[in-house]
């Protein structure tokens, strides 16, 4: 499946056109440039596409009445887009199946299009079930939130925080112990009468055991990201999750007896989309790179599920490191247990509300110069003081 998105006049975004979202898609750009808005818009339309697929599957399976309605107003509010939308806002998300059929979901004139008529129904051969994960920049609150458990019940830290927290919570049901070689530690999840206890234990001779909430800020940022990626790559049971969703929806309609599945759920294509805001938060440069290597290794090289990854970053180290991983792939080698095909990567600079493709066309590299400019500027100014 190929995905593309076009966005016009959405908050800081003036006009963005991404012709093909790649298995690893990365956004760089100044603060406030629209990276997060873009990633949230993509995640939202992927989710709408997911729900549209479920609706299509049910229609093919003799359930003509949809068990849910799309409520754009709520979704846009969750994304923080309510103030970003105006009459000229336009979003078009297109998926193209391997057979070449195109499915368009659009938003214009403050209305969602492409999900209601019979002509919009997704062909049974093109059905795709997906799972969306969004790990926000506020993830460093996850350890504290997890520690407070029931004491935090009822409090609300925003849609994206809770999305990330829920994923971490589910991940920690499946993961009892997780090694972080680049941080010389492991995460231990212990179940107690008072809920789960998250501990960080030193490895490589560093003998210590502390609560996750008391670990360093870099650890508190990196551990949830890695744990969630580990969960979706190795522990997430897609078929079980889809079955539960379908049964839940059928329960809403009271039409379970009419349900005649057109095909076995396990035969339908599936994909996990993980979105991460600034994976590098609070990490030393080499740990930033190692974190990205572990994500790529987990999501692309050692995954039971089909995963695509998207992140925003300000880190020149990570972007330069991607060049190393592409080189490793071209040399049939591994760097930090990871490698990445040039064809699987897209890197965009988001600037002045538009996107600029940073994949070099005549050599298999990302053009990292935009992120190197500040260091050149510093020494240009230094020279001018001579």
């Amino acid at each position: 499946m190929k995905e593309s998105i076009y966005i016009r006049n959405l908050g800081p975004i003036h006009e963005i056109n991404i012709e093909e979202i790649r298995p690893l898609t990365v956004f760089i750009g100044k603060s406030g440039s629209g990276k997060s808005t873009l990633m949230k818009a993509i995640a939202l339309f992927r989710w709408i596409h997911k729900m549209h697929n479920i609706r299509s599957f049910l229609k093919h399976s003799n359930i003509s009445k949809s068990p849910f309605r799309f409520r754009m107003e709520t979704y846009l509010k969750n994304c923080g887009f309510d103030k970003f939308i105006n009459a000229s806002t336009e979003i078009e998300y297109i998926t193209t199946s391997s057979s070449g059929r195109e499915y368009k979901i659009g938003f214009s004139g403050k209305k969602l299009r492409g999900t209601t008529s019979n002509a919009d129904i997704i062909d049974q051969h093109d059905l795709l079930f997906n799972k969306i994960s969004f790990i926000s920049e506020y993830r460093n609150v996850i350890p504290l939130w997890a520690d407070r458990g029931a004491a935090a019940a009822g409090a609300y830290l925003g849609f994206y925080f809770h999305e990330g927290f829920n994923d971490f919570d589910i991940a920690s049901e499946a993961i009892k112990e997780l090694e972080f070689p680049y941080l010389d530690l492991k995460l231990i999840v212990r179940k107690t009468h008072f809920g789960k206890k998250f501990l960080v234990m030193g490895t490589k001779g560093a003998e210590y055991e502390i609560d996750l909430k008391n670990s360093s800020s870099g650890q508190q940022n990196a551990i949830p990201v890695t744990a969630i990626a580990e969960y979706y790559s190795k522990h997430f049971d897609f078929d079980l999750a889809i079955n539960s969703s379908i049964i839940k929806f059928l329960g809403h309609t009271g039409r379970l007896k009419d349900f005649k599945p057109i095909q076995d759920l396990s035969d339908i294509q599936k994909k996990v989309f993980i979105h991460i805001e600034e994976p590098e938060l609070s990490l030393y440069p080499d740990a930033q790179c190692q974190l990205v290597a572990s994500l790529i290794s987990n999501c692309f090289l050692n995954s039971h599920n089909n995963i695509e990854l998207m992140f925003s970053t300000h880190s020149p180290y990570i972007i330069n490191y991607l060049n190393l991983l592409m080189r490793a792939n071209d040399r049939n080698s591994l760097i930090d247990n990871a490698k990445l095909p040039y064809e699987d990567l897209a890197v965009f600079l988001i600037d002045e509300g538009s996107n600029q493709d940073l994949m070099v066309q005549n050599v298999r590299l990302v053009n990292t110069n935009p992120l190197s400019n500040p260091i050149n500027d510093i020494y240009d100014r230094y020279s001018r003081l001579d």
Binding site: L358, N362, N376, I378, D380, S383
Partner: protein, 201 residues
């Protein structure tokens, strides 16, 4: 190329013909550099003086036109808001047409974004002139190029060298995908530091 800018361009825009004195350089040197120096543009045979490094191993006859200097000779009214890249380059052998923007960096400017705007604006201005557009059509290799002479740091600090190492991986510059140029039949290249534009027969 002289006729196009002496006659066609001013006629198209309803302007008086400016003098082209000192704006056109011709060379067939195998290696040369172009320097943007205030109102002037210099072509140097000595390495290290210019912002754009050009390799011409087949000794093509090249004409390099100081486009910014040219636009600056029109009335203020005409100049107002008009993007102007530094130079245009054409080979006599009906092969190359290049628009070039030169930068010797200014602190904290968005130099690369600014360069794209200068190049695109200049491209649109010259393509509007039918005779120039027809001339460009005879050149199959058409590129807009941004050249940036890069910074260096005090000897004991290698940060700029380290960050700029990527540019050593590709001598011929970076070809970037940009639909704004592609839709007019032009490629977009970036050249940093020692990266060199190579023109062959």
């Amino acid at each position: 190329m002289e006729d196009l800018f002496l006659t066609s361009f001013p006629q198209h825009y309803g302007q008086a013909s400016p003098s082209l004195d000192g704006l056109l350089h011709e060379t067939n040197a195998s290696n040369f550099e172009i320097e943007d120096c205030q109102e002037h543009m210099n072509v140097h045979l000595q390495a290290g003086l210019g912002m754009a490094r050009i390799e011409n191993p087949d000794l093509l006859n090249l004409r390099i036109f100081n486009y910014e200097g040219y636009i600056n000779r029109f009335s203020h009214q005409f100049q107002h808001g008009k993007k102007r890249c530094d130079f245009l380059l054409a080979s006599d052998n009906d092969r190359y047409f290049v628009l070039g923007e030169l930068k010797d960096r200014n602190p904290f400017d968005d130099v690369e974004q600014g360069a794209r705007k200068q190049l695109l604006g200049s491209l649109l201005t010259i393509l509007n002139v039918p005779e120039i557009s027809a001339f460009i059509d005879t050149k199959p290799i058409r590129n807009c190029c941004y050249f940036n002479k890069q910074a260096s740091a005090p000897q004991v600090i290698n940060a700029t060298d380290a960050f700029n190492r990527i540019n050593e991986l590709q001598h011929d510059g970076f070809e970037m995908k940009d639909h704004k140029f592609m839709q007019h039949g032009f490629g977009y290249y970036e050249f940093y530091g020692a990266q060199t534009m190579k023109l062959t027969a």
